[in-house]
C-alpha cells in the first residue's frame, strides 16, 4: 500500500478513537469538566500527564536538538524530567488536598486576595497561550507534510478534532483521550528507535545501545566524538557552552516544568493525596520511556546521517558521497526543503563539515572544500528515522500519528487550563459569583471554543517571536507561579502582600531581562544589548533567567510578608490542613 494511503488510514483511525472516547466520556458537571470528577486512577493519570506534558517539541524536535548539541542538550533531558521531582515533593500532594479546580483558585484562596488571583490568571494565560501556538504550528506542519495537504487544512483538521473532544468531554474527555494519545505516541517513538539501535549497535534497547559498539568495534559515542572532531566540530560528549548558563537553564526548565499550570492541574484529578504523589511518579516513568530513548535516537540518526554522506576516510578524494548515489530517503527529504544540498565546489560530492571553524579552514581548503554543502533541519531526525532505518510504511505512518498525538494532547491540556481560568476564575470567581452550575458549564465550553479559535488564529498568523516565546513560557511559569505556590504551602507566615509583591517582581524582572536582549515585546531592533554571552548578567542567557526570577520572587515575597501583618487565623488553619492528607 502506498505511504499516503497508509498514513491516512492510521491517522484517521486514531482520530476516530479520540472522538469515540470523547463521546463516551462526556462531562456532565463542572467537577467533571474541570477535574474529571477527581476519579482518575493514578497510573492512568500518570499516562495522561505524560501525554499532556510531552509536546510536539518533545516528540519531533528533542532528538534533533540532542543530535546537534550532544552533551549540551542534557539541559532539556534533565530540566524537563527533574521538574517532576519538585512537582511530586513540593506541590502535587498539597494542591490535591486543597482540592478545588484551578491553580489561580488556590492562589486566590491561600492569599485571600482577588488581585493575587487575577495576576495568577494573567500569568497562566500568557504562559499557556504562547505555548499553544507552537503546538498548533506542529499540527499544521505534521499534517501538511505527510498528508500532502496545505498547512491550513492540517491546522483546521487539528482544531476541529481538539474542539470536538475538549468541548464535549472537558477534562474527563481530555484525560482518556490523552491516555490513548500516549500509547500512540510511545509506540511511534520506540519502534523505530529499537530498529535503529539494533541496526547500529546490535542491542535492541536504545538506552543500552547508545553506549554500545558500532561496526568498527569502537563505542558509538567515541566514534561520534572522533568523526565530529575530524569534521571541525566539537566532541559530542563534552560541554560546549558555559557551566553557569547550563546550570541556570537546567534549573529554569525544572522550576518552569513544576510551575506550568496545565501540568499542575492534572494532580487535581486523582481521588486521594497519596494518589497525587504516586501519580507524579508514574508520570515520570512514562515520560522517561521517551526521554531516555531520545538521546539514542539523536546520536544514532546523526551517526547514520554523517555515515551516509561521509562514506570514506575524511579528506580522501572519494571520502564524500557522490550526489548521484544518495539514498531514496535523502531525495524525499530534499523535496520538503528540510534537507538541502548545494554543490559549492562543483565536484558532485556532498561535503559536510563545520565551516565556522577558522582553525579547520586550512584543512578544508587542502581538501578542495569550499564551504559546508549540506543543511539539515533538526526536526527531521525523528520523522526521517523510520525511512533511514528502512522500516515499512505503516511504521512511517505511525510516526506521523505519534507526532500529531503529541501536539494534540498538549494543545488540549493547555486550552483546558486557559478555559478553566477564564470560566472558573474570571467569570465565576470575579465577574459573576452567583452563576449557576449549568451556566458555568456552558461558559466553560464557550471559553474553550474561543480559546481554540484564538489558538488557531495564532497558528495561522504566528507572531514572529513565537519560537522565543516558548522559552519565555517556562521563564514566566518559573518566576511567577512556582515560588508563591510553594511558599503558600511551606510558609504559614506568607501573606497576600508578600505573594503579590513576589509574583510581580519575579515576573517583571524576567520579562525585562528577556526584552533587553530579545527586543521590547520581541519587536526586532528594540533590544538594548546584543544577545551574546559577553553581555549576559553573570553569563546567564535570557532563556535561563527564569530561575533567577524565581529566586527574586521568593526573596521579595518573604521580605514583604515579614514586614507586613501575618495572614488571618483561618488562612493559617488552611495551610495546616493542606499539610495533612486526612482532615483531623
Amino acid at each position: 500500500m502506498d505511504l499516503a494511503l497508509t498514513t491516512y488510514l492510521i491517522v484517521g483511525a486514531t482520530f476516530v478513537l479520540y472522538i469515540g472516547i470523547a463521546i463516551w466520556a462526556k462531562a456532565g458537571s463542572t467537577g467533571e469538566f474541570y477535574v474529571a470528577g477527581k476519579g482518575i486512577n493514578p497510573i492512568a493519570n500518570g499516562m495522561a500527564t505524560a501525554a499532556d506534558w510531552m509536546s510536539a517539541a518533545s516528540f519531533i524536535s528533542m532528538a534533533g536538538l540532542i543530535a546537534f548539541l550532544g552533551y549540551d542538550a542534557s539541559v532539556y533531558l534533565m530540566g524537563w524530567t527533574g521538574g517532576y521531582v519538585l512537582l511530586a515533593l513540593l506541590l502535587a500532594p498539597y494542591l490535591r488536598k486543597f482540592g478545588k479546580f484551578t491553580v489561580p483558585e488556590f492562589i486566590g484562596d491561600r492569599f485571600y486576595s482577588k488581585p493575587a488571583r487575577v495576576i495568577a490568571v494573567v500569568a497562566l494565560i500568557v504562559a499557556s497561550l504562547t505555548y499553544v501556538i507552537g503546538q498548533m504550528k506542529g499540527i499544521g506542519v505534521a499534517f501538511s507534510r505527510f498528508m500532502e495537504t496545505s498547512y491550513e487544512v492540517g491546522l483546521f483538521t487539528g482544531m476541529a478534532i481538539v474542539f470536538f473532544y475538549a468541548v464535549i468531554g472537558g477534562m474527563k474527555g481530555i484525560t482518556y483521550t490523552q491516555i490513548a494519545q500516549y500509547c500512540v505516541m510511545i509506540f511511534a517513538y520506540t519502534i523505530p528507535a529499537i530498529f535503529i539501535s539494533l541496526a547500529i549497535t546490535g542491542n535492541p534497547l536504545p538506552q543500552l545501545g547508545l553506549g554500545g559498539t558500532v561496526a568498527d568495534g569502537q563505542s558509538l559515542l567515541n566514534t561520534l566524538d572522533n568523526i565530529l572532531v575530524d569534521l571541525g566540530f566539537s566532541q559530542y560528549t563534552i560541554m560546549k557552552g558555559t557551566t553557569m548558563n547550563m546550570f541556570f537553564l537546567t534549573m529554569s526548565l525544572m522550576i518552569g516544568t513544576a510551575g506550568l499550570p496545565h501540568v499542575i492541574v492534572r494532580f487535581f484529578t486523582v481521588p486521594r493525596v497519596r494518589d497525587a504523589r504516586l501519580s507524579a511518579g508514574w508520570a515520570l516513568v512514562f515520560i522517561a520511556i521517551l526521554y531516555t530513548t531520545a538521546p539514542a535516537v539523536g546520536a544514532m540518526s546523526f551517526y547514520n546521517l554523517i555515515n551516509t554522506v561521509q562514506t570514506g576516510e575524511v579528506g580522501a578524494e572519494e571520502g564524500n558521497l557522490a550526489y548521484e548515489n544518495v539514498p531514496g530517503w535523502f531525495s524525499r527529504w530534499e523535496e520538503t526543503g528540510l534537507l538541502g544540498y548545494e554543490d559549492k565546489n562543483d565536484d558532485g560530492r556532498i561535503q559536510y563539515y563545520n565551516d565556522d571553524n577558522a582553525e579547520f579552514e586550512s584543512t578544508a581548503q587542502s581538501y578542495g572544500w569550499d564551504g559546508n554543502e549540506l543543511t539539515v533541519d533538526r526536526d527531521i531526525m525523528v520523522m526521517a528515522n523510520p525511512e533511514i532505518a528502512g522500516l515499512p510504511n505503516w511504521v512511517i505512518a505511525l510516526t506521523v500519528a505519534g507526532g500529531l498525538a503529541a501536539a494534540l494532547s498538549t494543545a488540549a491540556g493547555l486550552l483546558m487550563a486557559i478555559s478553566s481560568a477564564i470560566s472558573h476564575d474570571m467569570i465565576k470567581g470575579i465577574i459573576n459569583p452567583r452563576i449557576s452550575e449549568k451556566g458555568e458549564l456552558l461558559s466553560a465550553r464557550v471559553a474553550m471554543g474561543v480559546a481554540i479559535l484564538v489558538a488557531g488564529y495564532l497558528g495561522l498568523n504566528p507572531p514572529g517571536f513565537a519560537a522565543q516565546v516558548v522559552a519565555l513560557a517556562f521563564g514566566l511559569a518559573a518566576s511567577s507561579l512556582f515560588p508563591v505556590l510553594m511558599l503558600g504551602i511551606f510558609s504559614r507566615r506568607m501573606n497576600s502582600a508578600g505573594a503579590i509583591a513576589g509574583m510581580l517582581s519575579g515576573l517583571s524582572f524576567t520579562l525585562i531581562y528577556v526584552f533587553v536582549f530579545k527586543g521590547w515585546f520581541f519587536i526586532p531592533g528594540t533590544n538594548m544589548l546584543p544577545d551574546t554571552p559577553e553581555n549576559w548578567l553573570l553569563g546567564i542567557g535570557p532563556q535561563s533567567i527564569g530561575a533567577v526570577g524565581a529566586i527574586i520572587n521568593a526573596v521579595v515575597a518573604t521580605l514583604v510578608s515579614r514586614a507586613t501583618a501575618p495572614p488571618p487565623k483561618e488562612i493559617q488553619d488552611l495551610v495546616e490542613s493542606i499539610r495533612v492528607p486526612r482532615a483531623a
Binding site: 552533551y71 534533565m78 527533574g82 547508545l210 553506549g211 546550570f247 497519596r274 526521554y291 531516555t292 495533612v580
Partner: protein
C-alpha cells in the same frame, strides 16, 4: 487532647520536611552535581561505552529522579500510617 493532636501534626510535618530535604539534596547531587558540575571530571571514567558524566546527564539523572519520587511515595505512606493521617 487538642494539643496532643497539634503536636502530632507538627511532628508529622517535621518528619515530612526532613525527608523532603534529604531527597532534594540527592536530586541536586545527581543532576547538577554529577551531570553538570563534576561531568568533565567524571567523563574520564568510561563504563559500558558511556563517559560517566555524559551518562549521568543523559540517562542516570532521569532514572534517579524516578527512584526519588517512588522512595518519597513509599516513605510518605509509611509516615501517614505512623501518624494515623492516611485517607480511607
Amino acid at each position: 487532647m487538642a494539643s496532643g493532636k497539634e503536636q502530632a501534626a507538627m511532628a508529622y510535618w517535621k518528619e515530612n520536611v526532613r525527608l523532603l530535604i534529604t531527597l532534594l539534596i540527592i536530586w541536586f547531587a545527581v543532576s547538577f552535581g554529577l551531570g553538570i558540575l563534576l561531568a568533565p571530571l567524571l567523563n574520564n571514567i568510561v563504563i559500558a561505552g558511556y563517559p560517566l558524566g555524559f551518562w549521568f546527564a543523559q540517562q542516570g539523572a532521569i532514572y534517579a529522579f524516578i527512584v526519588i519520587i517512588f522512595v518519597y511515595v513509599f516513605r510518605m505512606n509509611t509516615l501517614d500510617r505512623k501518624y494515623d493521617v492516611e485517607e480511607q
